[in-house]
């Protein structure tokens, strides 16, 4: 690896080195202030990714340094910085070790950034595993919390199985095509030969692993348990960044897929439809906000899958826009939960929220706004996002999926409105929850303005996405 290549990978290096430094120094100077240091490092990485012009277009045949990859470095770094800010008070209350927590989140961002930039199967594997490993720890970070430990264990075991499938799938593709580098790997499979079924089986195994990571039905069963057990700010990052990074890596991959896509089409169709249906139905009877959000995320992944399946720059643009809108609304929803949480408990049952709208009007309204955006109510950004995906499905010739998507969106109103009704229209008997702190309000206000502004005025983001799409 030459110096130029290292220089081109600067943002990721800043993240990795920064995380290591924080971890080491934290051993001597334990302090929760490290979390603020982590915010600075993440912002620094975002800045360097946004401003620098890379010397080489690709590093070591593993990672791209194009504008698409750098856009996602910026996005994940910002999301990471927001999660860190959110965690500051949370870590204090739950007595979490600051430097380790901070370093882990930075490692996770680094992994996501690498994954979104992957141009080879090895790069993809490394990026994916980098942040999955981190999440094994982060999910069970509250050691004395039995639910957290259980969630961590479940994620570990299931994740290990998925990793096994992923590694096996990659090796099969390598065996069939003779290359890890994505364009060549596809080219090898295009020629009809004896190795083709082997390559396709490899692809199938990869899809399974990916389905697990982003929780597509029927690989989504871990999701509600893990969402429920993990600390709220970690869940926020898990729900947005880790899933988003996988989709971000899949978009250029599918754009380069060529004729091979026809072979994947039916499976993708099925995965999308199943996720939409299973997620919707399972979310309906939920009375726990985190579990509801877990199932609803399965539905959102179904929407994203539609964008992936339809293909073409317009559908991919709609997918990325959806991803960003989903990320801000979800992060803010978990942010509200974080800001409510106290030493002994993290309110998440609907019963905890009864009439809370009168006790904590600002944060309750924000939570309602997030849910409404996720449900796709104009003028919030979720409306435009859903509109884009469904329009793309109709234009791309998938009317069946479009119908399912519309029905899922309609039904989703029921489970998104349920907590809002609990918050604002029921007798007030909720207990007073924790008062929010400055950092939390800052993050929440930022997410809210994103939800609102992008809804009213989506044009600049859409233009930007058009510019970076490969």
């Amino acid at each position: 690896m030459s110096a130029l290549e290292l220089q081109s990978l600067l943002p990721q290096i800043i993240l990795a080195l920064g995380a290591t430094t924080v971890l080491m120094l934290g051993a001597w100077y334990p302090s929760r202030k490290w979390i603020l240091g982590g915010v600075v490092i993440a912002l620094f990485a975002a800045l360097s990714a946004g401003l620098m012009t890379p010397a080489v277009p690709e590093v070591g045949n593993l990672y791209s340094t194009g504008s698409y990859a750098r856009f996602f470095v910026v996005l994940w770094s910002l999301l990471g910085a927001l999660s860190l800010l959110l965690s500051l008070r949370y870590a204090e209350i739950h007595d979490l070790p600051g430097s380790e927590y901070c370093a882990l989140i930075l490692f996770a961002i680094c992994g996501m950034s690498l994954l979104s930039a992957a141009t080879s199967l090895i790069g993809l594997f490394l990026g994916l595993e980098a942040f999955t490993l981190v999440f094994y720890i982060l999910i069970a970070f509250k050691r004395e919390d039995s639910r957290g430990a259980e969630a961590g264990l479940k994620y570990l075991v299931m994740g290990a199985v998925a990793t096994g499938f992923l590694a096996f799938g990659i090796s099969l593709i390598y065996a069939a095509s003779g290359s890890f580098h994505l364009p060549e790997a596809f080219a090898g499979l295009e020629q009809a030969g004896g190795m083709r079924p082997l390559g396709l089986a490899g692809w199938a195994l990869m899809l399974v692993a990916i389905g697990f990571k982003v929780s597509l039905a029927p690989f989504h069963l871990w999701t509600p348990d893990v969402y429920q057990g993990a600390p709220a700010p970690v869940t926020g990052l898990l729900a947005t960044g880790s899933k988003g990074a996988v989709f971000a890596s899949l978009v250029p991959l599918f754009a380069a897929l060529g004729p091979l896509k026809a072979d994947l089409e039916q499976v993708l169709w099925l995965l999308a439809a199943l996720s939409l249906l299973a997620g919707t139905f399972a979310a309906l009877p939920q009375r726990n906000l985190k579990r509801m959000l877990a199932y609803s995320s399965v539905v959102h992944m179904g929407y994203l899958m539609i964008g992936l399946l339809v293909g073409g720059s317009e559908a991919h643009r709609a997918l990325l826009f959806y991803l960003i809108s989903y990320a801000f609304a979800t992060l803010a929803a978990f942010g509200v939960l974080t800001s409510f949480s106290r030493v002994d408990d993290e309110p998440q049952e609907y019963a905890d929220f009864r009439g809370l709208g009168y006790l904590h009007p600002r944060r309750s309204s924000l939570l309602a706004a997030c849910l409404l955006s996720l449900a796709g109510i104009p003028p919030l950004v979720g409306f435009f996002a859903k509109f884009g995906i469904i329009a793309a499905a109709l234009k791309g010739g998938y009317p069946g999926l479009a119908v399912i998507a519309v029905l899922a969106a309609l039904t989703s109103l029921y489970y998104y409105l349920a907590p809002i009704v609990v918050l604002f229209m029921q007798q007030r008997d909720a207990r007073q929850l924790r008062r929010g702190c400055r950092h939390e309000y800052f993050v929440l206000a930022l997410c809210f303005s994103a939800i609102l502004l992008l809804g009213v005025y989506p044009a600049p983001l859409l233009d930007l996405l058009t510019g970076i799409l490969p």
């Binding site: 089986a201 069963l221 072979d263 139905f281 309906l284 009877p285």
Partner: protein, 655 residues
């Protein structure tokens, strides 16, 4: 200069954000009011610059797009501004009169608890109104259209602890919604109709350019313009949607002056002017507009004859004057309509602010004497001209202007409208007659107001009588400026027959000239006819004033005798011809009844039944799925393995 067009709505928006966010903390009235006034004044300066640039420019239509809003299929919608003579004149009126009224409000609202709220809303209103007139497409206009409606609602309900204020705000909002529905119907029909001809646009310039694609006088144009006219009726308080405006007087007086006299209520007139190309193509709609306008002018004037609340008289007068503007639009006198809009903004703003000054003084007196009398009732006033000389003189000048006495601004604009309604090929002598009679009534009730308020014996409670001061400078300066404008504002439109150059007609010609020429709208008649019509209308006005003088100064017992001899008629007029009661009986109560039926009968039994049934089934499936969620790892792993087997099997066996 045109590149700075966006600054015009931007400044009031800054004022709104600033006062809305920090006003509560600042609490210093000078800072809050100063910022609010400064922002709209800055807008005024930028507007003047743009106006001047446009005067010098030979190219009269300029568009500036600041950002793309959305592009859906073939439709491209921008956040864009349009500066042409029409919008240039409007922004001058809005920011100019707006600045004066902001300044006035500093004095008038002094000591109110919601001082910052008031200025924030007022700035927000100016922002919305400027978006409305500057928008280069119908959607931006609609944003402003809804925005001013919202601000009007908020400001009418400013004293929200008063039930009547809350009710009035609600009424204004609901009635306006009916109009908004019309606006949207018109917009969508137009969009669809032009789209069928291959032009997908809502840009005003493009609409004007492509209007010829539609059949002139055809069904579509008529429907579209009628729907837009319904929208205009709601916003500009025309029959049948005028009932909200008199109630809107529950808001503070500066609000009445700015929103319910000078600017917002003229939005309907502006909108017709903006789409004059379409309206000119629909003679049936034009006739409807003219008839509705003339009837409103007369009808509201009759109600104004008998009101005792000083602001209500002015409110009905506003409805009546708006009727004149619609009459003008309907007979094709677009320029005259906009001209009257401008002169009306001057003298009516002055009248409202003057009435505010009187109310302020009366309130002060009653407050001093610890009385709870109504400070707006003219029966308690009288003789105030010596106590409040500046208010009196400015009020008198504006009243002469609205009465249509020669050399004052109202004369020129009103006379132009009356002449067109007689001489235009879209007009009729009956329209002229109705307009002339309404003008006589206007002169009568306005001078009745002046005589009852400022002349004769002071009828105020003796305890409060000597404690009615003239208002302070922030109140009297706007009055003097507006009164001066009310006097001289008409000189930009002196008709050729009186030896003038009619500057405003030439100025607005780039906007209206094309449609007027294309549809051959013209007013014709001999000079002798024009002179004699003018003489008749002036004669009627003078007679109205004389009658008011006889009844309220010379012989104050006369009105009571008149009431005694026609008790039924007087009662009907006093009770506003029972229109509110009629609407309540016909629409409101029946709507409530239908609503109750839909709720209890249809909704609860049928719709809820279906919905609950569906929800029950769906929820059942959800609960069934719950059994997959055991919490046991091996079950989860099993699910995964099944998925793997199915997918891999599909590829190996299927391909």
């Amino acid at each position: 200069m045109y590149d700075y067009l966006w600054l015009i709505p931007f400044f009031p928006l800054v004022g709104f954000v600033f006062n809305g966010l920090f006003g509560k903390k600042i609490r210093n009235e000078a800072v809050i009011g100063g910022i609010g006034t400064l922002m709209i004044f800055l807008s005024f300066l930028v507007s003047c610059g743009n106006f001047y640039a446009l005067l010098q420019d030979s190219e009269k239509v300029h568009q500036r797009v600041i950002a793309s809003w959305m592009s859906v299929g073939d439709l491209q919608v921008d956040w864009g501004f349009l500066l042409d003579p029409l919008s240039a004149l409007m922004i001058l009126i809005i920011t100019g009169v707006g600045t004066l009224i902001h300044l006035y409000s500093i004095g008038y609202m002094h000591g109110e608890t919601g001082f910052y709220r008031f200025f924030a809303y007022l700035n927000l209103f100016c922002f919305s109104m400027l978006m409305l007139v500057l928008g280069n497409n119908a959607l931006v206009m609609f944003v402003g259209w809804e925005g001013v409606g919202l601000c009007s609602y908020l400001l009418i309900g400013y004293y929200f602890e008063k039930k009547s204020a809350g009710d009035a705000a609600k009424k204004a909002f609901v009635v306006n919604r009916i109009g908004d529905f019309g606006f949207l119907c018109g917009l969508l029909t137009l969009f669809w109709a032009l789209g069928n001809k291959g032009v997908w646009t809502i840009n005003f310039v493009e609409i004007a350019e492509n209007a010829h694609l539609l059949e002139s006088g055809g069904l579509i144009v008529t429907v579209v313009t009628l729907a837009f006219f319904l929208g205009a009726c709601g916003k500009s308080a025309q029959i049948p949607l005028f009932t909200w405006l008199p109630d809107a007087m529950e808001g503070p007086t500066p609000v009445s002056a700015l929103i319910h006299a000078a600017t917002m209520v003229t939005a309907g007139v502006y909108m017709i002017g903006r789409m004059n190309g379409l309206f000119a193509m629909a003679p049936d709609t034009m006739m409807t507009i003219a008839v509705v306008g003339a009837c409103t002018a007369l009808f509201a004037a009759t109600i104004g004859l008998a009101q005792n609340d000083i602001k209500r008289v002015l409110a009905y007068s506003t409805v009546s004057q708006l009727g004149y503007m619609f009459l003008a639009m309907g007979v094709g006198a677009f320029t005259a309509g906009i001209f009257h809009l401008m002169t009306h903004a001057f003298f009516k703003a002055c009248l409202f602010l003057g009435s505010g000054s009187v109310i302020h003084g009366m309130h002060h007196g009653y407050h001093h004497a610890h009385l709870k009398d109504d400070p707006q009732d003219m029966r308690n006033m009288g003789g105030l001209r010596k106590k409040m000389p500046i208010t009196f003189w400015t009020f008198l000048l504006s009243t002469i202007a609205i009465a249509g006495i020669p050399l004052f601004s109202g004369f020129f604009s009103k006379d132009e409208i009356l002449w067109w309604s007689f001489g235009s090929n879209r007009g009729h002598w009956l329209l002229w007659l109705v307009g002339a009679v309404a003008a006589g009534m206007t002169a009568f009730y306005m001078f009745r107001l002046v005589f009852m308020t400022f002349f004769g014996e002071q009828r105020t409670d003796p305890r409060a009588k000597d404690h009615i001061p003239e208002s302070g400078l922030t109140i009297t300066i706007p009055l003097m400026v507006l009164a001066a404008l009310a006097v001289v504002g008409g000189y930009i439109g002196i008709p050729a027959i009186l030896g003038g150059a009619n500057h405003i007609k030439q100025f607005l010609d780039p906007v209206f000239g094309k449609a007027i020429a294309l549809n051959q709208i013209e007013a014709h008649g001999t000079h002798a006819l024009e002179y004699s019509l003018m003489a008749v209308s002036v004669g009627i006005a003078v007679f109205g004033i004389f009658l008011a003088w006889v009844m309220y100064v010379k012989n104050p017992a006369l009105p009571a005798r008149f009431v005694a001899s026609f008790p039924g008629l007087w009662k009907a007029v006093f009770n506003k011809w029972y229109i509110d009661e009629l609407y309540d009986a016909v629409f409101v109560n029946n709507c409530k009844r239908i609503g109750t039926f839909l709720w209890k009968g249809f909704d609860v039994r049928i719709v809820d039944g279906i919905v609950n049934g569906t929800a029950w089934v769906v929820k059942g499936i959800g609960s069934g799925l719950r059994y997959t969620q055991t919490g046991f790892l091996h079950n989860y792993a099993m699910g995964m393995v099944v998925g793997v087997v199915v997918i891999v099997g599909y590829y190996i066996l299927g391909k």
